[in-house]
Symmetry: C2
Subunit: 349 residues, 2 copies
């Protein structure tokens, strides 16, 4: 597959202008664009600008509100629910992160549930933001059934991702951002494009039988069998059910037939426990100890969670973002539809 | 392998009396015994009474204090640190759960870090207890390096388990209790006894090479590669580092050479978000919808997380606990050493 290279600032601006054409307010449009380009910069195209045709379609169909009636319902000093009013997920999760940080600054900890919003992009974007405020963060997103429930033939739970992050020394952040699925749906789609076989344990076909054929793969398998589907089921309880808007059960019984995503944000003010510098120093020393582990045979370097993505982002901030040609063609077509000028791009083969 | 059958109440009493002989106070001894027998009842022998020789050895060597100087350091209205003073893990985690429930009753949420305690048994024991108080629970334990860090030749992180639980309708609890490893070390040991090959992806040998040979298997692999070791690394940060007593880094650099386990307990009072009955009703409906999913080919019944364990516990509460003969022989020997009368057992072949 050939690719194109686009400057990250131009790409962000381009995506934001398309959203503005659909009446998304400027700040919200830039937030969504920044979240998508952030994922592309880090080498996670499945959560990058390739989502734009879907995002645009949802705004055009009314599933997502460009100017949502988003409300924050504060319960106790440390608890709140963000009712998204069908907001883009980025707008709802960003508001939740802001409220969570503000509440944790007073109470030491906070928990903000998010309901009735849409796809939030890569949720590591929000956990990293909270970590940069000197707090520990746990962020979970929970959506409709898209993943095999362990032992079931059909999708029963969501690929519910969890992101956790803590601040480390020298302004670094140590964080994970992972699905409860063995593989993302985006990766299966990518294999369909290239024809490459899937790995064992990644997906099942429509009869619930494991398959490595990307054409026959219907849905991803949960991470570690019952572990991944169990985590995902509990995340639905801790996110959408706790927030008062269940998603999985009404989807399975056919009473909910539109895209919706909820989640939660938990922030902990590290200074409530320890001096922040002492904490980040210990995290930095831990990271150094992990980096010093002897690599396994055939491995060049032991990597910290997120390290590869950090490096890729630094490179691509300088050199431009590499996008698949098919993604770029879709964006270009969308731009023509929305009457937005397409930025310069270089073909890379 | 043949087995023996022992009544669960007699078994619990037996284990408690051995601990009392080592100067563990009666209530603490019964708590540890109850936690171990709880795991055996549920069919998790790796966290059951087979741990007793190790527990006893740690008390005898001074690694674990039978009468610890355990302190609760309350930080904010919703945050505390339990300093275990080398307590048995069950005693420290039980105190943390009690404090967490009490704090969450006021603040809506609480986070209690646990440091300087020992192996806590199956941590689902504590998340289930919190759920029965009408709260959602997240419990994590974090210990010394026992699991391969992804890409490294040697152990770099702990098999850090996470347990989550919420109350469901009819007094039920929906919960998961899982290691961040692909498999427990106890299960590898069990395969060594039976000679049965390990599954692919479970363990690596001393060179960091994947192996299915239980004799060559040195340490478990992380769940889902970088996902499991990333989660475990973050749990060390959220538990021991946040509580001010790092475990992994000093273990890797050789300055910490004794058994130690920390963790955290997070409790959320569901009534701070919603009517508890409405919540448990929604969780019950979700559980029913999952049970109604069509089973995959070759699967008889779709199971909820913990369902098999719940059933096994109900059966074994009536019929007695099945223990491996080797476990029973070790306990019997220990009892003779400690001058404790061995309860009646039936051989089962």
């Amino acid at each position: 597959m050939s690719s194109v290279n686009v400057g990250s600032i131009a790409l962000c601006d381009f995506v934001a202008r398309m959203l503005e054409q659909l009446h998304v307010p400027g700040d919200d449009a830039r937030l969504v664009a920044d979240s998508l380009v952030w994922a592309d910069l880090r080498g996670m195209p499945s959560h990058g600008v390739m989502r734009m045709p879907t995002y645009v379609g949802r705004i055009q169909s009314g599933e997502v509100e460009p100017r949502p009636d988003l409300t924050v319902d504060r319960r106790r000093s440390a608890l709140a629910v963000v009712h998204g009013g069908r907001a883009t997920g980025q707008v709802a999760f960003d508001r939740a992160a802001t409220v969570a940080v503000e509440m944790a600054r007073d109470a030491g900890i906070s928990w903000v549930a998010i309901v009735e919003s849409a796809h939030a992009g890569a949720i590591g974007y929000f956990s990293q933001r909270i970590a940069r405020e000197g707090m520990a963060a746990i962020v979970v997103a929970a959506s409709r059934p898209t993943m095999a429930y362990y032992g079931a033939r059909s999708a029963g739970v969501s690929t519910s991702p969890i992101a956790m992050a803590v601040p480390a020394s020298d302004g670094r952040v140590l964080g994970v951002d992972m699905a409860t699925a063995a593989v993302s749906r985006g990766r299966i789609k990518l294999h369909r494009l290239t024809g490459e076989a899937l790995a064992e344990g990644w997906a099942v076909d429509q009869h619930g039988r494991p398959t490595v054929d990307p054409e026959r793969a219907s849905i991803p398998q949960p991470l570690g069998g019952s572990k991944g589907s169990g985590m995902s089921l509990l995340f639905e309880c801790l996110a959408n059910v706790m927030g008062g808007s269940p998603v999985i059960q009404p989807s399975l019984t056919g009473t909910l037939n539109r895209h919706v995503q909820g989640g939660f944000v938990c922030a902990i003010d590290i200074e409530a426990f320890r001096d922040l510098g002492a904490f980040t120093g210990d995290v930095g020393a831990l990271a150094d100890a992990i980096k010093s582990l002897p690599p396994a045979e055939g491995v060049d370097e032991v990597l910290l969670p997120g390290e590869r993505g950090d490096r890729r982002a630094r490179e691509q901030q300088r050199s431009g973002v590499l996008l698949r040609e098919a993604t770029w063609a879709e964006l270009t077509e969308l731009a023509h539809e929305l009457n937005v000028r397409v930025p310069a791009s270089k073909e890379v083969t």
